[in-house]
């Protein structure tokens, strides 16, 4: 009898637990803004804060990128709101954690779409997660600005899908010029991450390098989870290249660099711009000395807009910004500039992005969107790692 009762109590408890969580969630459904919000922001909320919806990873495998984004966003918002916000209203953002999981983004997309305070959306981090949400934004007519989405098909979903991410169509060919023309390398071994980004970048790199007269002696894709690169580097060594090209992120790029010596391979390493991060040097240590790369953004970039960004970022966070911080900062700045120009309206924003000239960005300098809804006129800096730091390098 008492056992029975105990079981009933358990059933009840479990039921109550579930119910409590679900209802707690429902009642809180209209999300409270989570961004940098001073007391001024809170007061003004009633008078109509302008909101940007952000979907990205705050937990899970890619959580570190979500954290860096936030820093870029917060810095941009501070400046925008100090200068009067957009059309006199404070700007803020709502960050929804999706873990960059495509199962979660469509729901978040619906949430943003049905929240009238939201005028634009930034995110997500990975292509599957971002593109699972795109059709919903396109149908509802809400701008989705992908800040890290270099997948060639990302902006093709429709005219509400935009990106200020580096396009592979510019990055990879520039790297090829750096390796073949500036460094004079003729026998290249290419290692690339086996993702949509890695595959496309490698194709574009190889096409350009071959047109410049270089020979590709090895092309190898590696899995995202790969840690042990000795076998593939041994293979590269036996192909006898004069340069090793890495289409990698900084974590795996640093790992590869560390294992190059272990297999007795002695070549110049040229790595794509995604490796440009303080983390690359922290993780790689001495192994990444002498690695060449090209990027659109470097703290030593003499352009005043870049210098300004670096100074403020360093002041606020005590570390150097990287690419992810810069694209996040640019993303908010672009949206704010256009909103200020055309007014707070979803449709007007889309038209405004198309018409906007002279967008001020850290990554591209003064620029505008092209036909493909990506930014035009990328500019590059050549870099090399010397004495534990990225230095600007001129051929």
């Amino acid at each position: 009898m008492s056992l029975r009762r105990a079981q009933h109590a358990r059933v009840l408890l479990a039921g109550v637990l579930t119910f409590a969580v679900v209802t707690a969630g429902c009642s809180l459904a209209p999300t409270t803004p989570s961004g940098a919000q001073g007391p001024a922001g809170a007061q003004n909320a009633a008078q109509g804060e302008v909101l940007i919806g952000v979907m990205g990873p705050l937990t899970g495998d890619n959580a570190e990128y979500g954290k860096i984004w936030r820093r870029g966003f917060d810095l941009a918002l501070e400046e925008i709101n100090a200068a009067g916000g957009v059309q006199g209203r404070p700007l803020n953002y709502v960050f929804e954690d999706t873990q960059s999981d495509p199962k979660q983004t469509p729901a978040v997309a619906q949430k943003f779409v049905s929240d009238p305070r939201i005028v634009a959306v930034i995110g997500d981090f990975s292509s599957p997660a971002s593109m699972a949400a795109s059709p919903i934004f396109q149908r509802a007519g809400l701008v989705q600005l992908g800040i890290t989405n270099s997948h060639p098909d990302f902006t093709k979903t429709g005219d509400y899908i935009w990106s200020n991410s580096g396009s592979q169509e510019d990055d990879a060919p520039f790297l090829a010029t750096l390796a073949v023309e500036d460094l004079g390398k003729k026998r290249l071994a290419v290692l690339h991450m086996n993702t949509d980004w890695g595959q496309t970048s490698a194709d574009l790199f190889i096409a350009k390098a071959e047109s410049l007269g270089a020979e590709i002696v090895l092309r190898e894709a590696y899995l995202l989870t790969e840690k042990d690169f000795r076998p593939v580097l041994t293979k590269a060594r036996d192909a006898n290249p004069d340069a090793l090209i890495l289409i990698s992120y900084y974590n795996d790029g640093a790992l590869i660099a560390q294992q190059i010596d272990d297999v007795g391979l002695d070549v110049t390493v040229v790595a794509i711009g995604s490796t440009y991060s303080p983390q690359f040097i922290a993780l790689g240590g001495e192994a990444v000395e002498g690695v060449y790369t090209a990027t659109r953004f470097h703290p030593a970039d003499p352009r005043p807009e870049a210098q300004e960004f670096v100074r403020k970022y360093r002041e606020k966070y005590g570390v150097e910004p990287d690419n992810f911080a810069a694209v996040a900062y640019d993303g908010i700045k672009i949206l704010a500039a256009v909103l200020n120009e055309v007014g707070v309206d979803r449709k007007a924003l889309r038209d405004g992005l198309e018409k906007a000239e002279n967008l001020q960005t850290v990554m591209y300098g003064t620029t505008a969107f092209g036909e493909d809804r990506r930014l035009r006129n990328p500019r590059y800096l050549r870099l090399v790692v010397r004495n534990g730091a990225f230095e600007i390098w001129e051929p």
């Binding site: 937990t59 570190e64 699972a132 086996n194 894709a221 590696y222 076998p231």
Partner: protein, 605 residues
Amino acid sequence: MLDQLINGLVVGNLYALTAVGITQIYGVANVINFAHGSIYMVGAFVGWMAVTWFGLPLLPTLGLVLAASALLGLLVERVAIRPYTGSGRTVLLLTTIAAGLILEQAAQLIWGPETKAFHAPIADVRFRVGGGFIGTLDLVILAVGLTTALVLWLFLKRSRLGWAVRATAQDREAALQMGVDVHQVSRISFAMAGALAGVSGLLVGLYYHSVYHTMGFSASLKGFTAALLGGLGNIPGAILGAYLLGTAESLAVAWLGSTWRDLVGIALLLGVLLFRPGGLFAATRALLPEPTVGTFIPIGRPLRIPRWALLAAAAAALVLPLVVRNGYWLQVLATAWIFGLLAISLNLITGTAGQISLGHAGFLALGAYASAILTTRLQLPFLLALVVSPLIAAAIGVVICYPALRLRGQYLAVATIGLGQGIALVALNWTSLTRGALGISNIAPPTLFGVEIASAAGFYWLTLLLLIGGVWVAERLSGSYLGRAFRAVREDEVAARAYGVGLERYKSIAFGLSAFIAAFAGVLLAHSYTYIAPDTFTHALSLQVLTMVVLGGLDSTMGAVVGALALIAIPESARFLAEYRFLVYGLLLLAMLRFRPRGLLSAAS
């Protein structure tokens, strides 16, 4: 060639370190401990703190990591194993998954999500071997691996406590009757396995100069593979298995390419399990007998839900979009219905037929890819793809699962992890068909009879109707001869065979039917996301579906639907918790399994 063999041994060295701990803990607790990887990660972080924050040299760091991770092992045993004794091993599988998730989330909150640089406080002397080099750390790892293996082996063979451990592994009840304190034994082995996991995390972290909060998962998967190759519970076997795995992978990279690495590992595992189910170094070719069935899967009596209540629920769900106009909640529910369909399909295998599958995302991928390829490449209409894709998925599902069906219990469970990942890896490597890592984009939204179903409400209805269809079919199956045959296989394989129920045939039918239903979910997913790629179908997704089924109540179709609804809605409604969301999810899972080990919609039998 020689160089590649050396490369294989170097990485095999790292796998061996993890495999020894896993094989030992399995032998004792008969549990595949999914928290092992998380302890490994915490060990690496403790070492990283000791070295970079406090500047400790290597030996004291090693001692500190040993102590900390042994304590953590004890804690996991206390929180995730002991309270669930007698709940059956599926529940233990899930509690260790939950414990691992909690540790991983806590680590992220404490140490932050970014990868930490971890440079060794040891002099790196390098030796030339063939064309490459071997460093001090390679030798340290080799020495630690061999020493721990030797010490463990002596402990188990020679000490009284070691005998007690082995006695408990062989027969827990008998050991208890002979006066062995089985709880004490369980504590000791979790502490030892924890210490081993922590030390291997530390050494591997040092080896790759990096430490991060998700480092445990793939490391423990390699450890499991190596341990299974050698035969679970067999320590020298685990070490040899690790070297074998490392070498096979290196040669795969050399001859086939780097992306084939994991696929070759999986193929090796399945191949070995097929011919020697007990592992390469098992004494007999036969499987060790699993403990009496019924302790493996705790089946409750399904709560009888009156027909009118089901009809009322279905009717309420159908009219919901007319009342709720909030697109967000309709989308959440539509996702829940898709996963409900998936959970129903898994329930057929796991609930009704009693076979654990940890690779169900693979079946989802089969359906999604089939439909995506049919509609984008061949321009077939959605309706036709919806009918044809499940047939394709069922056919492929049966063919690839057939070899694994000779395996039983935990062995089958691990083989299905391999199968699930294998399907995603094939999608990644078969570029000409699937576009590889680029994935398939621009999949058209569902169109029925010329009407495009694009609105949240339209999609909600489509998914709900298919779910209702799925429930109806599953319920009919459950009450039919087939359902009873599945249950006979679940309850007692020997008795079932004696009654003329062919095991492999009925397991194949269960997997085929399951793949068929799961493929419907896959089709819906593909046309809802409009973009799929191999990394849409992750191992984490497979685990989530299994959690849904167990949480809802095994062998209960409606339970599977309720489980899916709960596990989709809870993380969604817990969004306000932000970074703490999945920490709370893990805790909630532990609590639910504690109080409702037989699931929400099931009564104790």
